[in-house]
């Protein structure tokens, strides 16, 4: 049930103050580091083991944390990662963190140069899987809540909710920016992306200056590929997972030395199509939030928006 609250600045502060006495409350803002680093940490212990008795121990900590202030594109992480990681069998580590995370995102008030959420069907004011979203209006905030626990907390503090049917309901969303801009042709890729697989010229073009580093994937809010490794220490050890990237050659190289994706061309094809073709085929959503980190952080300034437009030319 979605609910909508009108809060003044004082109300909001009072709410945060009150929450911080019960659970951890963390302020976030749009930064180079995606929110993914919290939901799905760069390295995570799966379990400890003993080599002698073969006992395994997995400890998953449940700490309820409220994060507020992150942009909607970052909040979308929780939704996009969940599509894969919670598909049967669910990943217990991600699930625990997700279940114990309350996200209050904040609608953006401007576009950064590399933002493109509005070009892929999103909006800088969309809820995107967050528990709630905060809109700045003249006399305070409008808070749209889609989270029972959070609603309850607010009601307990005597804030008056009004029920709304959906996100598009009529209430002031303050200064959520809108701009005249041509949307990216993601529907082409979604429907006909498979036809670009054999188009070597396209992949040669897009990967020509790619260095095959992992910046774009490590900082992408929707990338979840990981590697598993064992760390030993005498008779005990732990199995750990760390980020991995489809752009690394080692990612698919088999022990025999055979690599199904031997050059950057194939790896780029995997990166683009996995986000815009395979992911929608599997889960119905594109694996991109439009945050623009891969564009601003890329050492060779490869612009995924240009790549999508290039790929459109090759769709049949």
């Amino acid at each position: 049930m979605m609910r909508f609250f009108k809060l003044t600045q004082q109300d909001w502060e009072k709410f945060l103050q009150h929450q911080s006495t019960q659970i951890a409350v963390v302020s976030m803002e749009k930064s180079k580091h995606p929110f993914k680093h919290i939901l799905f940490p760069p390295h995570e212990t799966l379990f400890y083991f003993r080599k002698d008795t073969h006992k395994e121990l997995s400890e998953i900590k449940e700490n309820k944390v409220l994060y507020y202030g992150l942009p909607p594109c970052d909040a979308k992480t929780i939704q996009l990662l969940g599509l894969n990681l919670l598909a049967d069998p669910a990943d217990p580590y991600f699930q625990t963190i997700r279940d114990n995370t309350v996200i209050i995102s904040k609608a953006c008030d401007h576009f950064e140069p590399n933002c493109f959420c509005d070009q892929i069907g999103g909006s800088p004011g969309a809820l995107n899987g967050a528990s709630a979203i905060l809109y700045t209006v003249e006399d305070g905030f409008h808070l749209l809540v889609n989270h029972d626990w959070l609603s309850e907390q607010l009601v307990q503090m005597n804030f008056i909710p009004s029920e709304v049917e959906n996100e598009k309901a009529d209430f002031s969303k303050g200064s959520v920016p809108v701009r005249e801009i041509k949307p990216l042709p993601i529907d082409h890729l979604r429907e006909k992306g498979l036809s670009t697989i054999s188009k070597t010229a396209l992949w040669e073009k897009v990967s020509a200056t790619c260095l095959a580093c992992g910046i774009c994937t490590f900082l992408c809010p929707a990338c979840y590929c990981f590697d598993i490794q064992d760390i030993s220490f005498g008779r005990v050890g732990k199995r750990e997972r760390t980020y991995d990237s489809c752009l690394f050659s080692i990612y698919t190289t088999e022990a025999s030395g055979h690599n199904p994706r031997p050059t950057i061309k194939e790896r780029w094809r995997q990166r683009l199509l996995h986000k815009f073709t395979y992911y929608p085929m599997q889960y119905g959503e594109i694996g991109c939030t439009g945050c623009g980190r891969c564009i601003s952080e890329c050492p060779s300034h490869i612009d995924i928006r240009e790549v999508i437009r290039d790929a459109e030319q090759y769709c049949e």
């Binding site: 212990t45 400890y48 003993r50 220490f233 005990v236 732990k238």
Partner: protein
């Protein structure tokens, strides 16, 4: 509390320093038992990664030793090592690894006594520094698990 006994990893060249260590043993020169020796075919085999890996896995000091310059069994191996490790040694120190932790020395096959002195001095030098914590990997969670699971199985 017992005195801190450093763990020293010694990479010794097969032809000179290893034989030197052997001679030290045969001649019954006393030296501290803190050193664990790894024989390498030539000091030219020394990959700086070996030193880092030893430090990372908890060695308190690393000793690299080979033939005197000019005496290399393979003619020039130790000349390359000399350059390679000198640069590496300085970079390590610049990164803040205490210089006592890494030692590079020439010991010939006939220098058994010198080898014993060398080990004594390496151990003496590194003792006051205490265990290598800043550079070894953090295994505290694993140690805790080992102890805890030991207790629970008793």
């Amino acid at each position: 509390m017992d005195e801190f006994e450093p763990k020293v990893i010694g990479f010794l060249c097969n032809w000179c320093s290893y034989a030197g260590a052997d001679l030290a043993g045969v001649s019954r020169f006393q030296y501290p038992p803190n050193v664990r020796i790894i024989r390498v075919p030539c000091s030219g085999r020394m990959n700086p990664l070996f030193i880092l890996k030893a430090l990372q896995n908890g060695a308190d000091a690393v000793l690299v030793s080979g033939c005197h310059p000019g005496d290399c069994h393979y003619q020039t191996g130790n000349y390359y090592t000399r350059r390679r490790l000198e640069v590496f040694y300085r970079m390590l120190q610049f990164a803040g690894v205490p210089k006592e932790r890494v030692t590079l020395a020439w010991v010939s096959a006939s220098e058994g006594a010198q080898f014993a002195t060398l080990i004594k001095e390496v151990v003496e030098k590194v003792k006051p520094l205490g265990p290598n914590q800043s550079f070894s990997r953090d295994f505290s969670d694993l140690e805790a698990y080992a102890n805890e699971s030991d207790r629970s199985s008793e």
